[in-house]
Symmetry: C2
Subunit: 191 residues, 2 copies
């Protein structure tokens, strides 16, 4: 083997950040070259096309995102308690000035039927995410209920991922979540 190849993970991290912030169409390959410090030939040799790079970025993002969720749920005192913490984290994250939702959600909405492969890939990865929630929830609930709860959880996370842009005061949304996700063991609070 000749000259060692560039570090794929570092390049993917930079690409994920770029696609995440800008979206697939608005992110240009020039920006990819600038962000990764790599030249066109290297990127195209390694990923084939913009779409190829995007596919790997999606996979990379999903892997990190699912690992983060799993870690948070497993370190909590219970899975459902962990979900409360996770939802609170998502709401807090949405208050950041550079908040940009979730790469999968953004991409699902951006890429229409003219990109069937990408759409399928995104759908698959969102499904994997939901399946992981169902699996973790099944430690506490029976299998059928876990699936319904996982599905409801996804719906609420999607909602938060969009509503995040709208929010000024998080307390009202938290109140809403306590009402609609009433099967979760929310902490009692006095306000």
């Amino acid at each position: 083997m000749p000259r060692p190849q560039f570090d794929r993970n570092i390049a993917l991290n930079k690409s994920v950040d770029l696609f995440w912030q800008q979206g697939f169409h608005a992110a240009s390959m020039q920006q990819v070259f600038a962000a990764t410090g790599l030249k066109p030939g290297s990127i195209y040799h390694a990923f084939g096309s913009k779409e190829g790079l995007f596919k790997e970025s999606i996979e990379h993002y999903t892997k990190l995102s699912m690992a983060k969720a799993r870690a948070q749920l497993e370190q909590a005192t219970s899975i459902s308690k962990g979900i409360c913490e996770l939802l609170e984290r998502l709401i807090n994250e949405s208050q950041n000035r550079d908040y940009c939702s979730c790469l999968l959600v953004k991409s699902q909405l951006e890429l229409n039927i003219e990109h069937p492969e990408l759409n399928q890939l995104i759908t698959q990865n969102l499904q994997k995410t939901e399946d992981q929630y169902a699996e973790l929830l099944s430690q506490e609930f029976d299998s059928d209920l876990s699936k319904i709860y996982a599905s409801s959880l996804m719906l609420h996370i999607f909602g938060i991922r969009v509503y995040g842009y709208q929010l000024k005061d998080t307390s009202q949304l938290l109140k809403s979540l306590r009402i609609s996700l009433h099967w979760l063991p929310w902490e009692n609070s006095l306000n």
Copy 2:
């Protein structure tokens, strides 16, 4: 006044459809010219720029969308009953082969902080939508509760707008909604 101006509403309808299907970045001005049958000069004379056309499209879409929601809620036997019907309609619409979510939701996620004006406009229009729900709900609930319910409703609608791409079987999602939006007067069903 010289030669009569083209019909602005027709042009906006076509533009809305295009931006809705493709998104702001993927929709090209060439596609606008093709869809409207107008020449570059006419469009630029009337709307100034792609961003100008997009802004008016957003306003146009919001107007139609809010009117549709209001009509559905007012023709129902009660506002909350109308909301059930509206949610069911949204879920059904998401099963269409050419489903493309909601223009406001898509745009909110696509246009990042590099388009601050557009972002603000979208946020405003989503807020108007939420305010209308709160106003209509206040016919049935007190003012504070109406606001919380409206906010929760928005969250669920956003969720449906994203989850719509994921859905195969709508019955599970409907079940979820019945659980989380338990304050709505859902029809009893045997399945």
